[in-house]
């Protein structure tokens, strides 16, 4: 589906979703991260835990996404190439759940970069100065969400943060690489009976 259609769908779905207070959301996530930091010793472990949490969120999100789109009589056709998947993820998915729009930059046929300009999770956040925080991927939840969601539609991917605003870069950039298209039940969800 085209970019603008994806964006329009995203906007329409966002209108229908129940909203939460942005500060409450950001503060809740912030305390979650600080608790994880207290529980685990290295930042690598914290990143991994955030990714796992994101994964369980992602597997649930994709069903909600497809269900809401269906109720809104929106057609989300099966994606024929990774680029379409990326556009739907960025423009419709992220828009619907977070209210932000992400940009897709295709690297090649099996990987793309997702660029996020404003991150609702990191409102007010400033990472401390010590060196151990350089490895901290505060918004690693997103990587897990993408991985979980795409796995439910039979795409096994790996995601990682390339650039992070909290670490001093200008944008948040996530690299998504397609590892494998899973064969089981491919296309079942999209087939019309």
């Amino acid at each position: 589906m085209s970019k603008s259609a994806a964006a329009a769908n995203g906007h329409a779905l966002w209108q229908k979703m129940p909203k939460a207070n942005a500060e409450l959301f950001a503060l809740t996530y912030g305390t979650l991260v600080t608790e994880l930091v207290r529980d685990y010793e290295t930042t690598a472990e914290v990143n991994e835990q955030l990714e796992k949490m994101g994964y369980s969120i992602g597997v649930r999100c994709v069903d909600e996404f497809l269900a809401k789109a269906d109720q809104a009589s929106m057609v989300i056709p099966p994606c024929r190439a990774l680029q379409e998947t990326a556009e739907v993820l960025a423009k419709t998915g992220f828009r619907m759940f977070l209210g932000i729009s992400a940009e897709v930059q295709m690297i090649n046929d099996s990987s793309f970069n997702l660029r996020i300009y404003e991150n609702p999770l990191s409102l007010f956040v400033e990472l401390p100065q010590e060196p151990k925080w350089k490895e901290m991927k505060y918004s690693n939840l997103y990587c897990g969400i993408i991985r979980g969601a795409l796995e439910q539609v039979n795409l096994r991917v790996e995601c990682k943060f390339l650039r992070d605003v909290l670490q001093g870069d200008e944008v948040n950039e996530i690299r998504v690489e397609l590892k494998e298209v899973l064969a089981d039940g491919a296309g079942e969800e999209y087939q019309e009976e």
Binding site: L27, G30, F124, E126, P128
Partner: protein
Amino acid sequence: MALQCLAIIGKTNEPLYLLEILPPSESSSSEENEKPENDNVEDMFGFQEATAKDSLSLRSEFMMHASLDRLDEIIGDQPRWKSRTSADTKWIGLLSPVEESFIYGYVTSTNIKILAMVAGSAEQGREVHLKTLFAKVHNLFVAYTLNPFSQLQQKIDSVRFDRRVREAVTVYNQTNGISWV
């Protein structure tokens, strides 16, 4: 007329943030220079480490500390608080004239105190600017507190907070006709 020092004091009178602005004629290096003069003197406020941004010159510290007593006298007066609107309850006003400076105070509803030492003569006009400065610093403090990584009740260790407070102070000094900042 020029803001010389700014201090943020916590609930139990522990110092959270201290900033000193010196004019270039009094210091050999840049215009904003925190001098750790009290490195080899016993720390009045009980700092663990006298890093540049945590310390004020000894003289300024004495004056700020003395005005805290006056502040405590004023805010000890509970009934006065409840009758005013929220905008008024925070601003205390002139705490004490000390030598050639004046110290103004501001208390938030969580008992965080902000003190500012301003040089020059007392004028009604500049109190308005000072009130806006205090409001800005208060907002910056709130933003700092909302950072999940900031340690509350401890010294404010944030680069972003420091930078923005300095900008606000620079703006204040400029609108009061100070030439060097």
